[in-house]
């Protein structure tokens, strides 16, 4: 480091330009404004959006599952006439919806963005905000007939991790 001592000395002789006189008064004014928006980020709204999107995704998945069950439980109405060539499976209480068993859950995170440090309204320390977008795919399978049911929906998640400095 001694090689650079002269250079460091020259650098220290460079004096940064002094801030304008108005800067301190602007900060004083900002600190005095109790209702100022400084330091209050729209975090809560985005947090609500996260839960809203998650809720909507789950509601959509539930609706699709219910719709599929209803379809499977109404085979008689859709039984074709005698002219049908393909044998129509006969659904009973034993082998229809009750036989659909969960076969898998896939979660693919296809985009993650680090949005840097932010302050939440109720926190005294900064939080690192990471937004990730995921596609969840749920699968059910009927082991007897081999029929499968698959539901896929996007999900956005925002995670806030406390950051501690030294």
């Amino acid at each position: 480091m001694n090689d650079f001592s002269e250079l460091e000395e020259q650098l220290r002789k460079l004096r940064p330009v002094q801030p304008s006189a108005g800067l301190m008064s602007r900060i004083e004014q900002a600190l005095a404004e109790q209702t100022s928006t400084a330091g209050v980020l729209p975090r809560e709204r985005r947090s609500h959006f996260r839960w809203l999107s998650l809720g909507l995704g789950l509601a959509a998945a539930t609706a699709l599952v219910m719709f599929a069950f209803i379809r499977l439980q109404q085979p008689a109405k859709t039984t074709p006439a005698v002219a049908a060539v393909t044998p129509v499976p006969v659904f009973t209480a034993e082998n229809s919806s009750a036989q659909l068993v969960p076969a898998g859950l896939t979660q693919v995170v296809y985009h993650t963005r680090d949005e840097g440090l932010h302050y939440t309204a109720n926190s005294t320390q900064p939080m690192r905000r990471v937004r990730s977008q995921t596609r969840d795919t749920l699968q059910w399978k009927n082991p007897k007939t081999g029929a499968t049911l698959q539901i896929s929906y996007p999900r956005e998640e925002v995670s806030l991790t406390p950051v501690s400095g030294q």
Binding site: L11, P16, A38, Y119, Q166
Partner: protein, 163 residues
């Protein structure tokens, strides 16, 4: 919560830190006024949260975070205005009070440093942060901070053989 605006301590703290903070913010701002806006927002936010002023790593991390947000917004605005303002002289005010030709050359060499080296140099030389504090602010290891500092000095020395 105590009304910190009545507390004179912040003026003492800020008076000591302001030149270095503004210089630090200038790395991402196109003008001194923009840099002051960044510092104002960061300091107010930091002080309101009643962080310990000795936690300088966190203060500089706050400035950096706001500066990067500002840069993103500013870039979008600049693109919008670039056509309309293309014939306006975009003079950038100097960040240092230049006293002679050697200082002008040195300041110009600083501007040519890679951003990651320059920010460490600015924090170390003009803000007197320790490598631990720099590492905390930039979320890098102390060894990386020290390496970037040495690389910056080496690059300056290479470009300025007279030093």
């Amino acid at each position: 919560m105590e009304n910190v605006a009545t507390d004179e301590n912040w003026k003492t703290c800020f008076a000591q830190l302001a030149p270095g903070l503004v210089l630090f913010a200038r790395q991402w701002a196109r003008s001194a006024a923009d840099a002051e806006d960044i510092v104002q927002e960061a300091f107010v936010r930091f002080w309101r949260k009643q962080h310990d002023i000795s936690n300088r790593g966190l203060l500089y991390a706050t400035v950096r975070s706001i500066a990067l947000d500002f840069l993103r917004r500013d870039s979008r605005r600049a693109r919008r205005e670039s056509v309309a303002m293309s014939d306006v002289d975009q003079t950038i005010a100097p960040a240092f009070a230049i006293e002679d030709e050697s200082q002008r050359v040195l300041a110009a060499a600083l501007d040519r440093l890679p951003a990651e080296q320059r920010e460490v140099l600015v924090m170390k030389i003009w803000n007197e942060l320790t490598f631990a504090e720099i590492a905390s602010a930039l979320e890098i290891s102390q060894n990386t901070a020290a390496s970037r500092y040495r690389y910056a000095l080496a690059a300056l020395k290479k470009n300025l053989p007279s030093l």
